[in-house]
């Protein structure tokens, strides 16, 4: 039994040796054939890695928002259809307070106004997206002041002219100099820099650090009072929930509360939209999933072409070596020996090509990660998968030529010139 297994194993090793000899004999041709598989495996491996990289990056972006959170904005939610009983979207500071008071499991809330602003200091200027908010913003979106302090309740009450800068804005205005305590001009009014936020990287190609934060009251007074219909209106409300709170339940409760407040009845559409981070994650996973399938499908075409190249070369090889096949049969080779010899030859070609393609994909993935700041994780699983898959391609496309070789009659094969 054991002897038999050893014999079989050594039989396969012999086939590998025969294959290597045959491949070395036609070195140039082998290399060119390998190239096709190499490009195919490279494309597929990189496509898989880019796809999962996209997934990782999307999840990171969503986590950067804050992990257990609902976003409410005054935009009619036309998702379900239905009658519209209002002229514009609604969301006010009073709604925010009602939610904070009546919905359970809330960690903190962050009402927001947003505006584009111009910052100037000592001849340098920068424009950025400013968020007028409350101290809750730091907690809800996991944002802390790395240097200095965050906006306080007192700042909000007094509509103080203070600003917290994102690292990108701080660098634009001050370089390496520590700006905390400095005075800058925002749309001509003097503001004191009270803090710098810690870096949150970028998501979806957006720089999360290109931001400035100020008290919501200050923002309302100076920058966006005109663009809003009511003096109490909000452009956005973040509601952060404690861990373990069910976001779908919370969303249902908030929807019910706001519908009561705006007297929305029956199937009428809501003048507000509530989205949760959980929904974002699900949608993103779906989108990146489709993205990945499309990518891999396109890449697979090149692998298919590589496989057809293998089949072509193996057919040529079988034809060229018909006499050798006949000879081997005369010397005692069974059909299965001949078939295995050519199968192994195709598999060896493919595995070499696959290994080279994998190396190339790792290089390409690393380059993407380093130069494009896009994570392309090529894990051990993907690597092993690529090699096994290329062997499979070899067996698949080498199968027909190999079986054809094994079906030759010994004497016909021997007589071939």
């Amino acid at each position: 039994m054991i002897g038999n297994i050893r014999q079989q194993a050594s039989g396969w090793l012999v086939n590998v040796a025969i294959a290597m000899t045959a491949l070395r004999t036609n070195l140039m041709r082998s290399i060119l054939t390998t190239l096709g598989v190499m490009i195919g495996v490279f494309a597929v491996t990189l496509a898989v890695a880019v796809g999962s990289g996209a997934q990782v990056s999307v999840m990171q972006s969503i986590n950067a928002l804050g992990s257990n959170m609902a976003l409410i904005f005054p935009q009619p939610d036309t998702g379900e259809g239905g009658r519209r009983s209002f002229d514009r979207g609604r969301l006010t500071m009073r709604d925010a307070r009602a939610i904070e008071k009546q919905i359970s499991g809330i960690d903190d809330i962050a009402p927001q106004l947003r505006s584009n602003i111009q910052l100037i200091v000592a001849g340098r200027n920068a424009s950025t997206n400013a968020v007028g908010t409350t101290p809750g913003y730091g907690k809800v979106s996991n944002l802390v002041a790395e240097n200095g302090r965050f906006i306080s309740d007192a700042d909000v009450r007094s509509a103080a002219r203070v600003v917290v800068l994102g690292p990108t804005v701080a660098r634009k205005l001050f370089g390496d100099f520590d700006p905390v305590g400095e005075t800058i001009r925002i749309n001509r009014a003097p503001f004191t820099v009270i803090g710098i936020t810690e870096s949150k990287g970028s998501s979806f190609g957006n720089d999360n650090d290109d931001i400035a934060l100020m008290p919501i009251s200050t923002m309302r007074q100076r920058f966006s009072g005109d663009s809003l219909a009511g003096p109490d209106d909000l452009q956005m409300l973040f509601v952060g929930f404690q861990d373990g709170i069910s976001l779908p339940d919370a969303k249902r409760e908030m929807t019910k509360l706001l519908r009561e407040r705006y007297r929305v009845r029956g199937k009428d559409i809501n003048p507000f939209t509530i989205r949760t981070t959980e929904e974002f994650m699900k949608e993103s996973a779906q989108v990146t999933g489709i993205f990945q399938i499309v990518l891999v499908a396109i890449a697979s075409i090149s692998l298919l072409v590589g496989g057809i190249g293998i089949m072509n070369i193996m057919l040529v090889s079988v034809t060229e070596r018909t006499r050798e096949i006949g000879l081997r049969m005369a010397l005692g080779a069974k059909r299965s020996d001949i078939r295995n010899q050519f199968l192994v030859e195709a598999a060896v070609l493919c595995v070499i090509g696959g290994a080279m393609g994998l190396i190339l994909a790792i290089a390409g993935g690393t380059a993407l990660t380093v130069y494009a700041d896009f994570p392309v994780p090529i894990g051990v699983g993907v690597g092993v998968g690529a090699i096994i898959f290329s062997a499979f391609i070899g067996l698949l496309f080498g199968g027909y030529p190999a079986v054809r070789a094994s079906r030759l009659s010994p004497i016909e094969a021997l007589r071939t010139e």
Binding site: R6, Q7, S10, G11, L13, V14, T21, T25, R323, E324, L327, R328, M329, A330, L331, G332, A333, K334, R335, S336, D337, S409, P410, I411, L414
Partner: protein, 234 residues
């Protein structure tokens, strides 16, 4: 029991509506230890006959028995095993694998016999040394003379210790001096008890055999014992 036995052996080819009877009802038996020369004009069916008793070709009708085994009862794998174990082939064109050393060429049948690498090398080396090629183990066929190549081929035919050696015009591609060397080898192999069947056109080659079978148009027209070896070599 005869080592090789045929009964009413027929091989027909259909060529453009015309039937060629390459071998046409041959019945004969060859005993263990015989040395047989098969002669006849070109196209008389010698090779076709040899290929059928070598289990390389399938008869149209009739029976071939090797060592009592009827080949028609056996499937392809069993015939491959039979060729591997009992029959050694020597071809006119040597049929060595190019770009492969003499040693590896000789070892090929042992691969299919299921031997391990070490055992293969040892046996192949021993057979090559018997053929006087102990110093040519690592030479590829391109670096060997015709006679040397044929001796490598003979070593390969013998490496599984077969009972029959089938040689179809083994000296057809060699000069007369080298042919004589090959015949010496055959003679000594026969003395060791190996049954030899050789196809040839040349009377000098046939004269080494102990029995001569003459083919014409697919039929045996003469089957005689030969006893004139002394006369030829003197």
């Amino acid at each position: 029991m005869a080592l090789v036995e045929t009964q009413d052996l027929v091989k027909k080819y259909e060529l453009g509506g015309e039937t060629v009877r390459a071998v046409d009802g041959v019945s004969l038996s060859i005993e263990r230890g015989e040395y047989v020369a098969i002669m006849g004009a070109s196209g008389s069916g010698k090779s076709t006959f040899m290929n059928m008793i070598g289990c390389l070709d399938i008869p149209t009708s009739g029976i071939v028995r090797i060592d009592g085994i009827a080949t028609s009862d056996r499937d392809g794998d069993a015939l491959a095993e039979l060729r591997n174990q009992k029959i050694g082939f020597v071809f006119q064109q040597f049929n060595l694998l190019a770009r492969t050393t003499a040693l590896d060429n000789v070892a090929v049948p042992l691969i299919y016999a299921g031997l391990g690498t070490e055992a293969r090398r040892e046996k192949a080396k021993a057979k090559l040394e018997e053929m006087g090629l102990g110093d040519r183990l690592d030479h590829s066929p391109a670096k060997l003379s015709g006679g040397q190549q044929q001796r490598v081929a003979i070593a390969r035919a013998l490496v599984t210790d077969p009972v029959i050696l089938l040689a179809d015009e083994p000296t057809g591609a060699l000069d007369s001096k080298t042919s004589e060397d090959i015949m010496q080898i055959f003679e000594s192999l026969n003395e060791q008890g190996i049954t030899i069947i050789v196809v040839t056109h040349e009377a000098e080659i046939a004269d080494h055999a102990k029995r001569r079978i003459e083919f014409r148009d697919g039929k045996v027209i003469e089957d005689v014992a030969v006893n004139n070896r002394q006369k030829v070599s003197s």
